[in-house]
């Protein structure tokens, strides 16, 4: 049950009152418990901004420097808090700029509500100034969207937006509101949405399927768990831990599932997928029962599908029926919320351990350590590695930081080497792979969880896609820590060019500006590190700072991320070099 705040209660228990559509929008947000929203004003949304001005003591509007970043900030807010993030923009370009963030939220199941202004209803379809069919454009990348043309529709539609965004498998919702509906007055009253008749957010868990899963797990000799973000979204971290420990099953995670179980847990055997750990990838093709929980067998996880775990019985715990058998044929599908399903499962699981099987993961880890990890974390060559920077962040933050990574080599390194102690600590663009995600997402994350250390780890390419958000950080004094791992390349693409395109480095080399000067231009404390001996003190200084801080680390130019499953190869053909 959701606990309502005093402000929420005030706006939920209000008698009917005649107000404008735009004021209603703000009151709806307050009734939904929104304390901060990210956005950018413009013509078609001005009435709402006028109300935000009046309500600024109750709701904090953060002016991002680009609407895309409003959406990403809302994502960061949602990912660290589990609450719905809110972004707001004007019609036309304001709305289209949100689309990347919306698509990112859709593929990574992140609950956000985007509100866009629209030209007045009598101008719809006339190619009016800043008119764009944002409902049409956003349809394939939203969980739900709707256009409002009458003020009286506002409360019901916004209530529904929050309900749909948050319930079941979460996702983005866009509500487009015409300017005349914002001006129109009506008798406002707000009621939260508790259901939509055509929508089943959480399918019923069939107890027979749970029993079938338990039997398979109990009889398995070489079981392997792979969990995804579903664990985090359903708050099933404790249940996952209980299952893993009771059944003694080695457990691996997808990039979106990272941090649900501490990195140091003895049964946490690492990340699966293209740049995941050696052992869980190789042994996916050796396990006898594969237990997938809240993950969706993405192609970056499975590699070549028809050589993926063909020897294993597959159990799939999943909230979204459309994911069952989508990529991998399951033997037992357990539909439902992961937490509820695991709570039913655990009592039926026999206490067990699989020491020989676990030893095989340890043996392969040793191989990976010698070939890859040692060189990443304890390099002997002159150039700094991305891995040692992450290691230093682990040390200085005691593994308690939330790491917000962008997309590319640094992202893989951050996910591989971050020492996660707390859940919801890995905020990254997993499905869409949106460069430019990290800086704005870190803003949202830090504002939603001010008590947590939030470290954005970004490459020099992605950083420059949303670098203008330094302005948002400066203006709002958001104490995020920004680490740019600068290799003067679009590193991941360069790595592929090196391995698969005979080193033809087409448009991947970057001539970069003075990043420190840029940060300082925004009055953000900044430092650049080029030598190993300066790294630890610089990271410490950054973490010790109470203010926003920018740290550029110049790393080896042509470092590669390994292990790697080449596209089209099987998970067990993962390369170590």
């Amino acid at each position: 049950m959701e606990i309502l705040t005093a402000i929420q209660k005030q706006y939920l228990e209000q008698p009917k009152e005649r107000i404008s559509g735009s004021e209603a929008i703000v009151r709806c947000l307050l009734a939904e418990g929104v304390d901060v929203l990210y956005g950018y004003p413009g013509g078609a949304i001005m009435p709402v901004y006028d109300e935000l001005y009046k309500y600024e003591d109750k709701i904090n509007h953060v002016l991002t420097r680009h609407e895309q970043c409003a959406a990403h900030a809302a994502q960061g807010y949602a990912r660290i808090s589990g609450k719905v993030g809110v972004a707001i923009a004007t019609s036309g370009p304001g709305a289209t700029n949100l689309v990347t963030g919306i698509a990112d939220a859709q593929i990574d199941s992140t609950p956000i509500v985007c509100i866009t202004g629209q030209v007045p209803s009598y101008l719809l379809g006339s190619d009016a100034f800043q008119e764009t069919d944002i409902v049409g454009i956003s349809t394939p990348v939203t969980k739900w969207n709707h256009q409002v043309t009458k003020a009286s529709q506002i409360p019901e539609i916004i209530a529904r937006a929050f309900y749909i965004a948050k319930s079941g498998r979460p996702g983005p919702v866009l509500i487009d509101i015409t300017k005349d509906a914002q001006f129109e007055e009506f008798d406002f009253q707000y009621k939260k949405c508790t259901g939509v008749r055509s929508y089943v957010p959480v399918p019923k868990t069939d107890s027979l399927s749970v029993t079938a899963a338990a039997e398979l797990i109990n009889s398995a000799k070489k079981p392997l768990i792979i969990w995804g973000q579903g664990i985090i979204l359903s708050k099933a971290e404790e249940e996952l831990k209980a299952l893993v420990e009771k059944a003694g099953i080695p457990a691996a995670w997808t990039i979106m599932g990272a941090s649900a179980l501490p990195t140091s847990h003895p049964l946490n055997i690492g990340m699966v997928g293209m740049h995941g750990n050696y052992a869980p990838n190789v042994l996916t093709n050796d396990c006898d029962v594969l237990i997938a929980i809240g993950m969706r067998f993405d192609d970056r996880v499975t590699g070549k599908l028809d050589e993926y775990a063909t020897q294993a019985k597959i159990i799939h715990f999943e909230i979204d029926p459309a994911e069952i058998d989508k990529n991998i044929q399951t033997d037992v599908a357990v539909l439902g919320d992961a937490k509820q399903s695991l709570l039913q499962l655990i009592p039926q699981i026999k206490t067990n351990s699989h020491p020989e099987w676990l030893q095989r993961f340890k043996d392969l880890y040793v191989i990976e350590y010698d070939k890859v990890i040692k060189n990443d974390l304890h390099p002997t060559k002159e150039g700094l590695t991305m891995g040692e920077v992450i290691k230093e962040i682990n040390i200085q933050t005691n593994g308690e930081a939330a790491i917000v990574s962008d997309v590319g080599q640094h992202q893989m390194i951050a996910c591989r080497y971050a020492d996660f102690k707390v859940t919801k600590s890995n905020i990254t663009s997993g499905g869409l792979g949106t460069m430019g995600f990290a800086l704005p997402a870190a803003i949202g994350a830090k504002m939603a969880a001010p008590e947590r250390e939030v470290v954005a780890v970004i490459g020099d390419g992605g950083y420059q896609m949303t670098i203008q958000e330094l302005g948002t950080i400066f203006q709002n004094k958001v104490p995020v820590k920004i680490v740019v791992l600068n290799n003067e390349f679009l590193g991941m693409v360069r790595q592929w060019q090196q391995l698969f395109f005979e080193k033809r480095y087409a448009s991947t080399e970057m001539v970069n500006p003075n990043f420190v000067a840029i940060a300082q231009g925004y009055y953000i404390e900044a430092k650049k590190v080029t030598k190993r001996e300066d790294l630890a003190s610089a990271v410490k200084e950054m973490i010790d700072s109470d203010a926003p801080y920018f740290l550029e680390v110049c790393v080896e130019k042509e470092g590669n991320v390994f292990p790697m499953i080449p596209t089209g190869a099987s998970v067990s053909d993962i390369r170590l070099e």
């Binding site: 349809t139 969980k143 739900w144 969207n145 055509s198 979204d320 029926p321 459309a322 994911e323 058998d325």
Partner: protein, 176 residues
């Protein structure tokens, strides 16, 4: 499960909302699947729309598509059926020069034999309507085309299933 392509009739019960057509057609479009025919109408339940979509694909594919359709918030339920599971029809209209009715005696026989019926006749043209299976419609089209057809149009397939679909129960369950 068969990977061979065949014709499936997809029936989708939905809320009657603007934009849903876009949402459903996008599911086919992103997979590069051509919709053979599409009909949207009211259903047996007040306020509930029914999409009837004809698709040529494998069962493996159609199952995934059904999952993607049902996942849409405003979709109540989606089904796929083979021709054997349904009673289905299409309709078509022929606009033909009225003179031909008198000049070409054969046409009158064709009309009679085909069980088509004349919707309207005036001095310039008459309109013939025929409902039935695709093959029957095609046979009639072939027979008439030798005389010249001014206009021809064929509707999408509509179909009811032999089995009960229990949509009302589903909606009632939500109320309780």
């Amino acid at each position: 499960m068969t990977t061979e392509k065949q014709l499936y009739t997809v029936s989708v019960y939905t809320e009657n909302n603007i934009g849903l057509l876009n949402r459903i057609s996008a599911i086919f479009q992103r997979r590069q699947i051509n919709i053979e025919s599409l009909n949207i109408s009211v259903s047996e339940i007040v306020g509930v729309s029914r999409f009837t979509i004809l698709i040529n694909m494998s069962e493996e594919q159609i199952k995934k598509i059904i999952g993607q359709i049902e996942k849409q918030v405003e979709v109540i339920k989606a089904y796929y059926h083979t021709d054997d599971d349904t009673i289905y029809q299409e309709s078509c209209l022929f606009k033909i020069k009225s003179d031909l009715l008198f000049e070409e005696r054969q046409i009158q026989n064709i009309v009679k034999d085909s069980n088509a019926h004349i919707v309207t006749v005036n001095k310039e043209f008459f309109v013939l309507e025929k409902s039935g299976r695709r093959a029957e419609l095609e046979t009639l089209h072939k027979a008439l085309s030798v005389f010249g057809i001014m206009q021809f149009v064929r509707s999408a397939r509509i179909a009811v299933t032999k089995d009960e679909l229990k949509i009302s129960e589903m909606l009632n369950a939500f109320k309780n």
